[in-house]
Amino acid sequence: MPNERDTIATLLPLPPATFHILLALADEERHGYAVIQDVEARTGGELRLSAGTLYRSIARMVEQGLIAEVVRRRAISDDERRRYYRLTPFGSEVARAEMRRLEQLVRLARARGVRPAPESA
């Protein structure tokens, strides 16, 4: 079994959809459509995952062990057939690693004196 750090390294950089799904599941378990809504809300409507993109990512993330389906979750108001997903400990590890990678990138850019342009809106 290769150690976890190596495995994480092979997964980085994460596709944006994957990273956003990890973030959406960071605070609570959600079903698919809720993930789409959360991502859309957090990005101010900039990223709106389609159903196909979402479930293709979910399928791969389940296989990679980043997230897992929540077994027997029943919220009274929800349709009970809905499938909920949660972040696995490995998934949070990977999300943190991706954050570190992004931070480092930004640090490198700043060290070079590159500053983001002021928001034009």
């Binding site: 079903h31 698919g32 459509y33 789409i36 709106r48 389609s50 159903a51 196909g52 993109t53 979402l54 479930y55 293709r56 979910i58 399928a59 791969r60 057939r81 809905r82 499938r83």
Partner: protein
């Protein structure tokens, strides 16, 4: 939403079943706020742009995983992987190369305008199907038929090119203007000649090669005059290098002028005829047309045209023997492909059986059947593709070598190239095999209950697979036996041909051509003077035993057929009384080692005013004066009487594989002045003895010729042994190839038999163990395995021999009288096959004998 639901089918089944409801629900929620006039369109776009890229991505993900898995699993079993890839490579490589060659020979359109309408016409007699035609007959065909858009004639004639550099002999064709218009290829520079040009005087069209080499590719050469065969010819144009008619060796085409006297003798046949069918006229119609003319000519000129018909063949007209050889090679290639597929099948079957357990475990762990099938198929396709790749590389290497087999006399253009269709077919077949047999275990893994498979572990796989394996052994044995029988027959044929005595002693004879220009040497006496000077000088060389000039070399000049009239018979009939006519200088028979049986050689005193004499071959005497003394008897050739002064041994003029006409030799001094241009002696033959060598002799001969006439080039320097070897060379090459394929086939079949038997034995280890435990001796076990295997091998052998015999009968023309049921060949094939099978049996049988009852049972 209905569209979206339908589009979901683009996803792999497993994914679709897992996420269908979720996808539908999420998508419905996402598109519900799409309203307005174009809502429908926008929904459609949303559905399409969501499903199509994502479905592709999911498929790609799975493929990547499967390939990863396949490469891992193949690396775990490198023996299987390498064998399977090689087997596929072999089948694909050999077949692609062979069929590319066949396509090149048979199918490739000729580089002429509408080549499918081009035909070649031959005079056909009961004795010979392909005779050249006489000018008079061609003229009648042309004038009296209505099926052709044109009819052109040509004849090969080498001519000396003098001026602008060293004198050199050109391979040229004498052609009528219609030859160019029938073929319909425009000139590269200038134009081709017309009837109008001919009226102005002799003209010539140069080949691109000659134009570049000799005239520096200067377009201004058109319109100038060059000396060909001692006569000034006006250059009217240059043909492109792709125009290689009738042979790739032709360097120029000069105008063929037929005068009224050329039309007199209908037995004087030397023209090759090509014609273009009118649009819409079928070859059958055209032939009926020609037959009507032939019938008319037969009544009109019974002396020459009785029994004469026309043979019409497509211009591609490849001789039956070459066709058969290429077909034989293709057949061999197909056998190899069959063997490859059978081996691949058995490899996959064996692997499948070994993996039944693994598959059952994975299925029990929840892998869907579709997933397993998909993965196994990916694996077998990967093997097939990898093998195909190696095979294509092999074919690319092999093809140029194979192309050497195509006789250079065929009117095919350029070089054979890899044929994509052949590649696709061969690869398709192996993919199909890999697919079918790679799939089988997956399907059965899905079908049988996982628990059942787990419990019983991997074993023989049931009666159906057992029968399939038996069938595979039979197929492998049969196809290798077919190859053994057919190549064996061909080997015997070559042996038989090589054992035929040519009628002369070829060792230590040098042959050189010095074609004398007719313009300068039209007078026979002048030519004889030249011969004498050259021969005197050559004979003076120490190490030269004898030397002579002759019209042509046996097996090199095969034509020159005339009719003779003997005694009180009717008019000379070329067909019944055909002889092969040669003019020779004294010493020809001694030089070639043709024994003089009776009488004398021709001599220098047999001149134009002396008694017209002839030396004839034994076959001539047998035919016309059986049991009588021929010396002093007369016959008539071309209306002039000849007295026989000598009898010599028969020579295989037409080659080792064909019957030859009796030979008539006339003294070189008795060629009529300015006539019989094709028959004037031009081949100088020199018999030498060691320590003299060819390398030392050639410059001396060259000097002798130059001393006699400095304008005179020499060409075609070769040994007579080469001429004889060339007779069988194509056959020997083709045989080597066929032999190599057969050896390959045997190897594959041996491996296949070995693999299948080992597999059977290991699968049956438990059964054999129980038998041992119950008291069976090792000998009994061995006997049982051998018996079971032998039955299959014998069935395959019988089947293979039967097919081989049928093919042998079809190859009759190639077999030089070797009977297809030749016992030696069949016996040898059977022995080789059984030997191969025995070697294949060896290890599995030993393994079976060594089965330890305890270990076999403990494996439970």
């Amino acid at each position: 939403m209905r569209l979206y639901r339908a589009l979901l089918h683009l996803y792999p089944r497993g994914f679709r079943e897992e996420y269908r409801d979720e996808l539908l629900r999420a998508h419905a929620a996402l598109v519900q706020d799409l309203r307005g006039p174009f809502a429908h369109v926008r929904r459609t776009v949303a559905a399409l742009s969501d499903v199509i890229p994502n479905a592709l991505a999911v498929h790609a993900d799975i493929l990547r995983q499967d390939l990863l898995f396949a490469s891992r699993s193949l690396r775990r079993t490198p023996g299987f992987a390498v064998t399977a890839v090689l087997v596929v490579a072999l089948g694909v490589g050999v077949n692609t190369a062979m069929f590319s060659l066949a396509d090149f020979v048979f199918m490739r359109p000729l580089p002429y305008r509408e080549p499918e309408r081009l035909v070649k016409l031959w005079q056909q007699t009961p004795a010979y199907s392909r005779n050249e035609s006489s000018p008079a007959n061609v003229r009648d065909w042309r004038e009296q038929t209505h099926s052709f858009d044109g009819m052109g004639v040509y004849t090969m004639r080498s001519q000396n090119l003098v001026g602008s550099g060293e004198p050199r002999e050109l391979q040229a064709a004498l052609a009528s203007p219609e030859m160019f218009s029938v073929l319909g290829v425009p000139a590269l520079v200038g134009r081709t000649f017309t009837a109008h040009d001919l009226a102005e005087g002799p003209c010539v069209v140069l080949g691109e090669g000659l134009w570049k080499a000799r005239f520096g590719a200067d377009a201004r050469v058109v319109g100038t005059s060059i000396r060909l065969g001692g006569v000034a010819h006006t250059v009217v144009g240059v043909m492109p290098g792709t125009f290689q008619f009738p042979y790739p060796t032709v360097e120029a085409w000069s105008s063929l002028v037929l005068r009224e006297e050329n039309y007199e003798d209908r037995d004087d046949t030397y023209l090759e005829v090509i014609a273009r069918l009118k649009p819409g006229i079928t070859p059958k119609r055209a032939l009926e047309d020609l037959d009507a003319v032939s019938a008319r000519l037969a009544t009109q000129y019974p002396a020459t045209n009785k029994d004469l018909s026309v043979l019409m063949v497509g211009l591609h007209g490849i001789p039956q023997r070459s066709q058969l050889l290429v077909l034989a090679l293709c057949g061999a290639a197909l056998c190899i492909l069959l063997l490859s597929c059978a081996n691949l099948a058995s490899l996959f079957l064996a692997r499948g059986a070994y993996r039944a357990h693994e598959l059952a475990v994975r299925s029990a762990l929840g892998a869907g059947r579709e997933r397993l099938v998909r993965q196994l198929v990916t694996e077998s396709l990967a093997v097939a593709l990898l093998g195909g790749l190696v095979g294509v590389v092999a074919a690319a290497v092999l093809l140029p070598l194979l192309s050497l087999l195509v006789p250079s006399s065929l009117p095919v253009a350029g070089q054979a190239t890899l044929d994509l269709r052949a590649l696709v077919i061969a690869l398709g077949l192996t993919l199909l095999t890999g697919f079918a047999f790679g799939l089988a275990p997956a399907l059965s893994a899905g079908r049988t209950s996982a628990m059942g498979a787990l419990r019983s572990d991997a074993r023989s796989g049931g009666g159906r697979t057992q029968r399939l394996r038996a069938a595979l052994v039979v197929v492998e044995v049969a196809s290798s036996v077919v190859l053994l029988v057919t190549s064996g027959l061909l080997i015997r044929a070559v042996w038989r041909i090589q054992a035929v005595s040519p009628g002369f002693v070829a060792d230590h004879v040098l042959a050189v051509r010095t074609a004398l220009p007719f313009s300068d040497y039209g007078i026979t006496a002048k030519r004889v003077q030249y011969y004498d000077r050259v021969l005197e000088s050559v004979r003076a060389v120490s190490g030269v035993k004898s030397a002579a000039f002759a019209t042509g070399l046996p097996m090199s000049m095969r034509g020159g057929i005339w009719g003779v009239k003997v005694g009180g018979e009717g008019p000379a009939k070329k067909r019944e009384n055909a002889v092969s006519l040669r003019f020779v200088t004294p010493g020809f028979f001694a030089t070639l080692g043709v024994p003089i049986q009776r009488g004398r050689d021709v001599t220098t005193s047999d001149g134009p005013r002396a008694l017209p004499v002839a030396v004839v071959s034994e076959a001539f005497v047998r035919q016309h004066w059986p049991g009588l003394d021929p010396i002093g008897r007369h016959f008539t050739l071309a209306d002039s009487p000849r007295t026989v002064v000598g009898v010599v041994g028969d020579v295989r003029v037409r080659g080792l594989e064909w019957p030859s006409e009796p030979q008539v030799y006339l003294p070189c001094g008795q060629v009529p002045d300015s006539s019989l241009i094709g028959y004037t002696p031009k081949e100088l033959v020199v018999r030498f003895e060691p320590p003299m060598t060819v390398d030392a002799l050639v410059p001396l001969v060259r000097r002798s010729v130059a001393t006699a006439d400095p304008q005179q080039p020499i060409s075609k320097v070769r040994l007579l042994t080469q001429v004889v070897a060339d007779e069988t060379a194509p056959r020997v090459t083709q045989l080597r190839l066929l032999g190599a394929l057969t050896a390959l086939a045997l190897l594959i079949a041996g491996l296949g038999i070995h693999g299948l038997l080992s597999f059977t034995v290991s699968m049956r280890a438990r059964e054999l163990g129980i038998r041992r435990a119950l008291g069976a001796q090792a000998g009994d076990i061995v006997g049982m395995i051998v018996r079971e295997g032998s039955v299959l091998v014998l069935i395959g052998l019988a089947l293979g021999v039967a097919i081989g015999l049928a093919i042998g009968r079809g190859m009759g023309a190639l077999l030089a009288d070797v009977h297809p049921t030749d016992p030696l060949t069949l016996g040898a094939a059977a022995v080789l096959c059984l030997l191969t099978a025995a070697i294949g049996f060896l290890r599995p049988v030993l393994n079976a004998a060594r089965v330890d009852p305890l270990i076999a049972l403990r494996a439970e």
